[in-house]
């Protein structure tokens, strides 16, 4: 199982991105609400295991308590007969769903990509609620 190393990797990339784009994080501690990851059907990652590892690995980090949103990316192949990209209904059968032509030319579906982080930053003008 390599979901723990994937989660650790994701956390350091996310923290790096937050630091670059929102340096205030350390001082005024905005809350991280959501981290969105695109996971291809053929990325070799189990979403459920990754959720579990994410929760554990974010403890004691500024990402603790944030939600991991996993967007699944379907497997898309190029069909040389149709000369078009086709989404595979099943990754157990690499054949064009339109014309039945076998094809191994994978165009999408291996993604493992941090795409978006949702923060809630304290308002600078009004004092923090509570």
């Amino acid at each position: 199982m390599h979901e723990l190393s994937i989660a650790t990797n994701l956390i350091s990339l996310a923290l790096e991105a937050i630091q670059n784009k929102s340096p205030a994080l350390h001082t005024s501690a905005p809350r991280v609400d959501q981290v969105t990851l695109r996971v291809g059907r053929l990325a070799g990652v189990d979403a459920e295991a990754l959720q579990f590892c994410y929760e554990i690995a974010t403890r004691d980090t500024p990402l603790a308590g944030s939600q991991l949103v996993i967007e699944e990316v379907p497997a898309v192949v190029y069909c040389p007969a149709c000369q078009a990209e086709r989404e595979l209904p099943s990754v157990q059968r690499f054949v064009c769903p339109e014309c039945g032509q076998p094809t191994a030319e994978l165009r999408r579906g291996r993604e493992l990509e941090l795409t978006c982080i949702q923060l809630v930053e304290p308002d600078t003008v009004s004092p923090p609620a509570g």
């Binding site: 994937i6 994701l10 157990q92 054949v95 990509e113 949702q118 923060l119 308002d123």
Partner: protein, 228 residues
């Protein structure tokens, strides 16, 4: 409180992919074909590799092997008996090898000029699929004893391979191995994949496997001539 959205686009495996790409181009430029052997535990990676190292050495090629293992050095010892330089990468429980491990072990090891470098990955049908090690050939092994439907159960790994090797072919008959089913399952997840059949026990099919590797090396590596 103001919600704020940071739009990012970062590949989690970028670092691994970059190291792998760099390794591959550097090694190919040096005329080294890197072969990554992947399979489930016990499929026959070490046994095939032993035969392969011995045979290639006999034909005058310079070969070496890096062996990933969770905890033991048994495989490395078995491979070192061939006389080829062998180096163990103990992963300490990590279920796959990563490009950075290959890079650092190669740097610390310097096995001398090579024609082919083999990497035996950790026996695992899931995790090694995601990690490019800088190989030019990824060979997935499937033994006749482990079930013809493995490609359908682990399409990610089988799809990622450049060649499939059916191992322990000497046991095909006693195991009532369904060759047609295995071939059709392999073709389903990776249309057009070349399939070879070998037995590390009897030596059957080893020559064809070696020929396949040497043809790949001539095609890919800068210096196609043996033993130079």
């Amino acid at each position: 409180m103001t919600p704020r959205i940071l739009e990012i686009r970062k590949n989690l495996l970028k670092r691994n992919d970059e190291i792998a790409r760099e390794l591959r181009s550097r090694l190919l430029a040096d005329g080294v074909l890197v072969v990554n052997l992947v399979s489930g535990p016990g499929t026959g990676k070490t046994s095939l590799l032993r035969r392969t190292l011995t045979e290639l050495r006999g034909r005058g090629f310079r070969v070496a092997a890096l062996v990933g293992d969770l905890a033991t050095d048994n495989d490395a010892r078995r491979l070192a008996e061939t006389g080829a330089p062998v180096r163990q990468i103990t992963t300490d429980g990590l279920c796959h090898l990563e490009a950075a491990m290959v890079e650092s072990h190669l740097a610390a090891w310097a096995p001398g000029p090579l024609d082919l470098l083999f990497i035996e990955n950790v026996g695992n049908l899931v995790c090694p699929a995601s990690y490019d090690l800088g190989e030019s050939v990824r060979a997935v092994l499937l033994s006749v004893t482990e079930g013809e439907d493995k490609p359908l159960k682990y399409p990610t790994l089988f799809h990622s391979a450049d060649v499939a090797v059916l191992t322990k072919i000497d046991l095909a008959e006693p195991c009532e191995f369904d060759r047609a089913a295995a071939l059709s399952n392999l073709a389903a997840v990776r249309p057009g994949i070349p399939v070879l059949e070998t037995s590390a026990r009897t030596g059957a099919g080893i020559d064809a496997w070696i020929d396949f590797l040497l043809a790949a090396r001539s095609r890919l590596a800068a210096d196609p001539l043996p033993g130079r």
